[in-house]
């Protein structure tokens, strides 16, 4: 019983941490139509920023400032936001699949930097010993995780509320207009470049927040945490849950994470040991299958987009 409960807590922490990143992607893709295929890169920036800011100091590696957890979170969002500004300025003139290719390439580059710039990132070994703030508050692992979950729930709720406020509002209306017809929007006085950049950067900051929470929870960071498969998972969460719907984004994160971990467990039980090495690939295929089924049978996702944008314009 305790085992199930502690597993559920562990599961929900990771699902909601991804959920925050999915909310970021939803702002970019769902509301603004920006095809960011480099989610893993922004998670990595947030994760490493957290590790550098709050981690223990060590020889021959930059950082280890041992700053408070909250500073780490804010710093991670700031770093990912700054990355978003720079990458946004160079890529947002690109549209659709061109933007996707560019951001994908940038995320791979970021991962390679994490792998090779040892002075900053610790290289392949990564950075370990990142403090988890709940360890000071409780000693039993179950209690620690319960506290962490409470914090993640609170943060998710805050992010959800903050996003709902701005997307169900005139700002969100402009995002949607640009997504639907950029030429009409600019002919009606909206500045697409500025609005696209703003949405992109805010979304990247949320991805940074997700990456930072992930790292603080796991306690270490390595370049192998941010492989392109993460981008694929986050995208699937959004499409399955419902693009342009923040509740859908969170639901999608939980559902897809359940399928991912559940299938991992089942594969470990039923697949003969000599094929276990391929279990990751099998999981990825399964996620791909869900994505395709979702696109075929429920293209709007579990909870789709609402017609009204501004909460002041309901009829």
């Amino acid at each position: 019983m305790i085992g199930v409960l502690s597993y559920l807590i562990f599961f929900m922490i990771l699902a909601l941490v991804f959920g925050i990143a999915v909310l970021g992607l939803n702002l970019q893709w769902g509301y603004t139509g920006l095809f960011n295929a480099g989610v893993a890169g922004f998670l990595a920036i947030g994760g490493y920023a957290m590790a550098i800011l709050t981690g223990p100091s060590r020889e021959a590696v930059f950082g280890g400032f041992e700053l408070p957890f909250l500073v780490g979170l804010i710093g991670a969002m700031g770093a990912a936001g700054l990355g978003g500004i720079i990458i946004g300025l160079v890529t947002l003139r690109l549209r659709g699949e061109y933007l996707a290719v560019a951001t994908f390439g940038i995320a791979v580059t970021i991962q390679l930097v994490c792998l090779n710039w040892e002075y900053l990132t610790g290289g392949t070994l990564g950075l370990i010993g990142i403090p988890n703030p709940t360890h000071e508050l409780a000693s039993a692992p179950l209690a620690q995780n319960a506290i962490f979950l409470a914090m993640v729930v609170a943060l998710t709720a805050l992010v959800y509320w903050g996003l709902q406020r701005i997307v169900n509002a005139p700002w969100g209306r402009v995002l949607k207009a640009i997504r639907e017809d950029e030429i009409a929007a600019e002919s009606l006085g909206k500045n697409p470049a500025l609005i696209r950049l703003t949405s992109f950067v805010l979304g990247c900051m949320l991805m940074g927040l997700g990456g930072a929470l992930y790292v603080a929870f796991i306690g270490f960071v390595s370049p192998f945490d941010f492989l392109p498969i993460i981008t694929f998972q986050i995208w699937t969460m959004l499409i399955v849950g419902g693009s342009a719907n923040n509740r859908g984004a969170i639901l999608g994160a939980i559902v897809v994470w359940a399928v991912w971990t559940g299938s991992g467990y089942i594969i470990s039980q039923i697949v003969p040991p000599e094929f276990q090495a391929q279990s990751g690939a099998m999981q990825a295929v399964l996620i791909g299958l869900i994505l395709v089924l979702s696109l075929l049978f429920r293209p709007r996702g579990l909870i789709g987009e609402k017609l009204h944008v501004s909460r002041h314009a309901k009829l």
Binding site: I166, R173, S187, G189, H308
Partner: protein, 255 residues
Amino acid sequence: MTEPLLSIRDVHKGFGGFKAVDGISFDVPRGSIAGLIGPNGAGKTTLFNIISGLYSTDSGEVILDGVRLTGKAPHQVFGSGLARTFQIPRPFPAMTVLENLMIVPRPQAGEKFWNNWIRPGAVKAQEEELRAKAEQVLAFCNLTQVAGSEAQNLSGGQHKLLELARILMADPKIILLDEPAAGVNPTLMRDLVDRILELNAQGYTFLIIEHNMDVVMSVCDPIFVMAQGRLLYQGNAAGVRSDASVLDAYLGETI
């Protein structure tokens, strides 16, 4: 003579080797309903795209009320007081008709995302104002009954009205309409003409591309005739009817 409101000066635009607009100059007087006519492919829409900042010019310039529009981005042109509709309507398809209108006016407090967190009261008050204004404009354009519909579900003629309604939400100095009557049924067309005349009486200046000669001849003065990227003629309705080169451009059609 007073200063013209809109002044087009020797504008050129080519696509590859093809000269779509080949040295056009004309002035739209303040307070007028000017017409721009010409055969298919004459370059009329291309000229609108240049004026509104969607296309760059190869040479020449466009001046609105003493302000140079050439080189400005479309949103800046709109900000300078020039609003245009599209020949093929461009609604925001998955938005309600009401919100297609409410999005237009500027500046909106709620378009700065942080105001939705720190000044929700101001945003709400402004949204209520916008909504009231949108409802007026919808009534004016006979669109009240579809206010809550998704814009993509409107009929062709209603899309034309929506194009007009949207720009009436702003307070432009000049309104450019690209074939407002195309696809609109005769009753609705009479309404549309009445609306244009009414707005003109309120002080709005228009430049209208239109193939429907009844509409052009009854409301437009001056009328500019374009063919193959060049200005063929300018004058009033009677002059256009009797000018040989205009008749020639229309291959003897009665106009």
